[in-house]
Subunit: 239 residues, 2 copies
Amino acid sequence: MRALPLPVTGTEAAVARLGSLAPLRADEAAALMKAASTPLKFATGREIIAEGQSLAEPRILLEGWGCRLRIFSDGRRQILGFVLPGDLIGFARSRDAISSTAIGTLTNVLLCRAPEPEQAGEGLALAYAHSLAAEKSYLYRHAARLGRMSAYERMVDFFLEMEERLASAGLATAGTFPLPITQEVLADTLGLTSVHVNRTLQTLRREGLIEWHGGIARLRDPEQLRQRVEYRPVLAHSR
Amino acid sequence: MRALPLPVTGTEAAVARLGSLAPLRADEAAALMKAASTPLKFATGREIIAEGQSLAEPRILLEGWGCRLRIFSDGRRQILGFVLPGDLIGFARSRDAISSTAIGTLTNVLLCRAPEPEQAGEGLALAYAHSLAAEKSYLYRHAARLGRMSAYERMVDFFLEMEERLASAGLATAGTFPLPITQEVLADTLGLTSVHVNRTLQTLRREGLIEWHGGIARLRDPEQLRQRVEYRPVLAHSR
DNA sequence: CGACAAGTTGATGTTACTCAAAAGTGGTGG
DNA sequence: CCACCACTTTTGAGTAACATCAACTTGTCG
């Protein structure tokens, strides 16, 4: 059993995160809770959606960590983004849409059907829209990180982004948050090798900027970290 | 005056591209042409939208090349995607949206207001949705390219993507298409230096795979190029 | 034709990768 | 409770890919 920074469990984080994107009425929160009462389970390391698979129905991740990824035939992998509690999967404007990336699990994961945007109410529809917009912003940030940042900067930027996103779900306090992934997964996220991730991490630890043990990460000096990579929060304005 | 592969000028490419994403009724095409009759002009190297600027109204790029980009305070730049004829700018699901990247021009550019999705008709609304979905797919591809491909592979993958996208607007034939950018811009796109882009380009030329002179690029052996980078077209199914 | 931007080349430096092995960690069954 | 196993993290040594710096050449446009 992990010692989480906040005693947020189950679907609370997902609801908190959507609620932080747009105010939800009581009936909207209730609709979420009802959908969450019949969750789908996926074990660690499973594929939720394959690349090219048609998107059956919109879903919300309730618990655990997923990721979007692309796999090359020679074994190279690139993780394109993380799917955290409250994040959406399988949303598309057109009905015949196809997933442009695979989606897999990094931990055990609980999903549920997302209440249909059309019937969900204004608050939920807005929360969905904001969530998808934020996802796109993080994707732009990810591309900029991969293209123009050093390994050191990529790591710092990544930790800051995780802190920001998990905080919006109530899963981070005082710069401390769960980070239940291996260094190899982080390497596949940041376009590095796990050996180099390890060495860069040691630098950050030596400098007293970041701790990360047993699946729990801690930013010792968030402000200094932000300055180092010109970090501007995506969610600043909507909080 | 450039010798374009096809005599497509003005707004025709933009309409062709949207029409390839979803069939347009005559009145929808007419609405596009009408909007295009009062275009906005931007000169080369200008900023169309600043990062963080609120999105006033949806627009369509009619002619020329734009790009989304992020600029770092020390001068580093990362181009996050190209905006080509028929591509959309400033679309957002929520009204108070903000641009998460800057958008600038790489050539002289003509824009027009996009007929409002709600009133535009089903065909246009579907074309918009498909266009935004394709943009996202290309962004995922871009991230994977930056994270896990060698300089050589990034170049090949990039040329293939440009050919695919321009072909959907009728701006590429037989692997030949306009590429009105400098090697430095390409470097900022692929996360490389212009020196290294130049050297890699020479390899590709020596191998007889790619030509690129005077703003016109030509793929000599598209099939071989596709195999080298496992290129799967984004638009294959919707054509 | 002249000026400035873009492309090209060479020499050298650095970041990050590769390969290989050792040490640590956590979970499982006997 | 311990032994074992697989996985993860850490360390070292050598290498490759790409960056940097600087100059020179070519192309373009007024």
